[in-house]
């Protein structure tokens, strides 16, 4: 807390938070006291028909009573939070000031989990909740694990979920990390996730933002080994008064790795989105291939997008590229569909679905992919096709 008060929370003057007034959104509603736990009434299972290892945080605190581990090899422990360091993100420090425990999740070496691990944030809706969940996940050598992360809250709930997590993926392990953000319209969410990858690890990180008043995702991938294959996909459908800010870092520290980043966004109403993708290629990371693409569609007059794809390269034998586009739906494609008798709205929906759908490639589990797709369709349907 001392470090934090020295540093202060970021304002719009700070480069990293230029367009995202997190603090302004918190003013007035900040009560600070952690809310008491209440009995859970809503269903915590996200995907019908898929059973998962359920790890539940109630109002930011881990609740063993509500959690349910069905894969025997998975261990979940409670530990003390580590000592804070000065170079941490201000929200990380804020979390540390309030969180008194760290949930350590471990997948042992050479174990392939049968069921996904679902990390659920359950929010009590009776009053404003300031939640500070904190967890770490370690995938042992050669292991495999799918993580689903989402919030369960009633539509009236208003809360600030300040989540911090680290994931360590050891040699030859494979991580599928799927984050679905659709808590409630009044959600303020800061999401710090750091993923450390060792040699020959594989990872897919998928961030799907469908709801929330203000969402800030800090996702960093540190490629600290050779032969790593990393994919970052993201989709943000921003409507109403929402602001969605995705900051990602891909840090290539060792040679011969591959990373591919694809983030897509559709903005409507007064929706506002920020994308900042950093790719670092350090001096040692020769033979790196790193690609990044950010594509946006603006549907309404008042929507806007601030994007800053950033490449910083200190090695010469690399292939890196980034591309970024902002535009509208292709008039000609729309005309083509309409000339074949498809009504305008349906044609628009079809094109948007196709646009959003590309990000889903890479999710291996068909049930999960199908479910995320249905969420996207539902959102597109309510937002644009009435």
């Amino acid at each position: 807390m001392e470090l934090l008060s020295e540093k202060g929370l970021p304002t719009s003057r700070s480069e990293e938070y230029r367009f995202t007034p997190v603090v302004r959104n918190l003013e007035g509603i900040f009560s600070g006291a952690p809310a008491p736990a209440a009995p859970i009434t809503a269903s915590l299972d996200l995907i019908p028909g898929i059973s998962a290892n359920l790890l539940v945080f109630v109002n930011g605190r881990y609740s063993p009573n509500h959690s349910k581990v069905i894969d025997n090899s998975l261990t979940v422990k409670t530990a003390a939070t580590p000592a804070p360091k000065a170079d941490q993100d201000p929200f990380d420090l804020l979390n540390q000031a309030f969180a008194d425990e760290l949930i350590e999740i471990q997948v042992p070496d050479h174990q392939q989990l049968v069921h996904p691990v679902a990390i659920v944030y359950y929010i009590d809706h009776s009053q404003f909740v300031f939640a500070n969940p904190r967890w770490s996940l370690r995938l042992g050598t050669g292991s495999r694990c799918t993580v689903l992360e989402y919030t369960v809250a009633s539509s009236a709930a208003s809360f600030f979920n300040n989540k911090q997590s680290t994931i360590e993926v050891r040699e030859n392990a494979r991580l599928d990390y799927i984050l679905i953000q659709r808590g409630s319209r009044d959600e303020v969410m800061v999401n710090n996730t750091a993923v450390w990858l060792s040699s020959s690890a594989q990872a897919l990180c998928y961030t799907c933002t469908l709801e929330g008043k203000l969402v800030r995702n800090n996702l960093s991938l540190i490629l600290d080994g050779e032969g790593i294959d990393a994919h970052l996909h993201g989709l943000y459908l921003v409507t109403g008064q929402s602001l969605v800010d995705n900051h990602s870092v891909v840090d290539h520290r060792k040679p011969n790795s591959f990373s591919n980043e694809l983030y897509k966004g559709v903005m409507d109403d007064n929706g506002k989105a920020v994308f900042n993708g950093k790719i670092f290629v350090r001096t040692d990371a020769q033979k790196t291939n790193a690609f990044q693409s950010n594509r946006n569609i603006l549907l309404s007059e008042n929507s806007n997008i601030h994007t800053k794809p950033q490449l910083e390269i200190w090695a010469d034998d690399v292939k890196c590229s980034h591309g970024c586009t902002t535009g509208q739906l292709d008039e000609e494609a729309l005309f083509y569909l309409r000339s074949r008798g498809i009504p305008k709205d349906a044609a628009k929906g079809l094109l948007l679905t196709a646009f959003a759908g590309e990000t889903l490639e890479g999710i291996h589990d068909e049930a999960i992919r199908g479910f995320v797709e249905s969420l996207i369709l539902e959102k597109l349907h309510t937002a644009h096709l009435q």
């Binding site: 601030h306 800053k308 390269i313 090695a315 010469d316 980034h322």
Partner: protein, 481 residues
């Protein structure tokens, strides 16, 4: 790989060819910066009261500002009191013709390959030469005067066309715009002024040549170009400096004001002394360049070839205010040894149907750092704005860095903005392909780099393109034949 190392070594051993010092008597202001100095400069140039006031206002504002820290460059703090802010070659009286100009001075410019004597009339370029802080000669004045074009030194313009200067000075880059622009506004000593009347198409290329000669001086010149309705001008700028161990500061301001249907093309070949191969000395090039497309259908195009300077910090920008106005930015930035460049552009779309295009090619070698930083801002009112940006980086050697910081802010839903960037080294397969066909490695690298920069070099006027190509070849000598 051994061959690569060899090539890189050759690149890094290339010396600066304009590194001589001309033996010119000069008179200068004492070191340091204060209101006195600002008054001294103003008085020395017998400026009207309003201009002095303008300078003082800028100076007072500068005092309240802080040096920007955001560029991706590192350098020791500049001691602003250790710089001579005014240095001028001594002259007897103002020269009526070129015959009266100090022969040493003429020699200086002949060494640079710039013809002040109008012998080389065939080259057809009007030149305004600025040595240290003062404009020393302007050629082809009469011929231009027949068309109503005003092309003269800034101090001359202040005396002869005070209304024009007063109207447009600071209209694009206000005196309080940024740290270095404010400093320039306070102490600028000379520069070029150019006014193209309505409907006139300037028949020749206009050119300014800057040279820092005296030691310990900073150069602060100011260029103002006003293009009236329907006019056209192509403007060239070149610069060199002697080799010195200390760092010298160059903080210039260029303003372009384009009315309805006017077109201005501004080309720069920047070849300030970059410092030696240990990174000692060289020019700090902190420049503010901005063009305002004030009228509908106006167009401003920036082309730059940046090979010199220890540190470059420069973002030629376009404010697209008029409907259907067009902004363009073409850049090749080469850094070698310990050079650092943070350069790019800003395209501010305010008017409807405005278009902009950015093509930036960075080449880094040795231990240099090369950054592209650019902003494309589509304002809410800018209906149907269109932007295309491309910024590529080429890395030669494993100790250099390439960085891209593009900011894209879109507030209008009818805008189409595209941005793409790549970073790579010259592909081994590309070199192999050339070698297979009997082209040796060095020639192959030359071929590839030339092809890489072609898109930008093609934008330069003929006379400059030749110089730029030569410069590119020299800067990367060894890899470019």
């Amino acid at each position: 790989m051994a061959k690569d190392d060899h090539i890189i070594q050759e690149i890094t051993t290339k010396e600066y060819e304009h590194g001589w010092v001309a033996n010119l008597e000069s008179e200068s202001a004492p070191k340091g910066l204060s209101e006195e100095i600002v008054r001294f400069i103003s008085q020395r140039k017998s400026e009207p009261e309003w201009l002095l006031e303008w300078r003082l206002k800028a100076y007072r504002h500068w005092l309240t500002m802080e040096e920007p820290k955001w560029p991706n460059v590192t350098y020791p703090a500049i001691n602003y009191q250790d710089i001579i802010y005014y240095s001028a070659p001594k002259k007897k009286a103002s020269p009526k013709s070129l015959d009266e100009i100090d022969p040493e001075l003429l020699k200086t410019f002949e060494k640079l390959g710039i013809s002040l004597t109008e012998q080389k009339r065939l080259t057809g370029i009007a030149v305004d030469a600025v040595l240290d802080s003062v404009s020393v000669a302007t050629t082809f004045k009469e011929k231009l005067g027949e068309l109503g074009i005003i092309f003269c030194s800034f101090s001359e313009a202040v005396h002869e066309h005070p209304d024009l200067v007063k109207k447009y000075l600071g209209s694009v880059v206000p005196a309080t715009d940024n740290y270095f622009a404010a400093l320039n506004s306070a102490v600028f000593s000379d520069g070029s002024f150019c006014y193209i009347p309505a409907g006139v198409r300037c028949p020749m290329e206009l050119s300014t040549y800057f040279r820092i000669n005296a030691a310990n001086t900073g150069q602060f010149e100011r260029t103002l170009i006003v293009a009236e309705e329907g006019s056209y001008v192509s403007y060239l700028e070149g610069c060199t400096a002697p080799m010195r161990d200390e760092n010298q500061l160059h903080a210039a301001v260029v303003e372009i004001y384009a009315m309805k249907n006017a077109e201005v093309k501004y080309s720069t070949v920047q070849n300030w002394y970059p410092g030696n191969k240990e990174g000692v000395g060289g020019i700090y090039n902190f420049v503010t360049k901005r063009g305002l497309c004030a009228g509908d259908h106006s167009k401003i195009s920036w082309t730059q070839v940046e090979t010199g300077s220890a540190i470059t910090w420069k973002y030629p920008s376009c404010v697209l205010k008029g409907d259907y106005s067009v902004g363009e930015f073409y850049s090749v930035a080469v850094t070698n040894n310990f050079q650092q460049a943070d350069t790019g552009t800003k395209m501010i779309h305010l008017g409807k149907h405005t278009k902009s295009r950015i093509v930036s090619k960075g080449i880094s070698a040795g231990k240099s750092q090369n950054s592209y930083r650019g902003q494309v801002h589509i304002h809410k009112r800018a209906v149907n704005a269109r932007n295309f940006s491309q910024c590529d980086s080429l890395l030669l050697g494993d100790k250099c860095g390439a960085h891209t910081f593009p900011y894209i802010d879109v507030e209008n839903d009818s805008a189409r903005v595209e941005h793409e960037a790549t970073t790579s080294k010259i592909g081994e397969d590309q070199i192999f392909y050339c070698q297979q066909r009997g082209i040796d490695e060095e020639a192959a690298v030359a071929l590839i780099v030339n092809g890489y920069a072609k898109e930008v070099l093609n934008q330069l006027p003929m006379e400059f393109a030749v110089e730029a190509q030569k410069l590119l070849a020299l800067t990367l000598e060894g890899s470019v034949g």
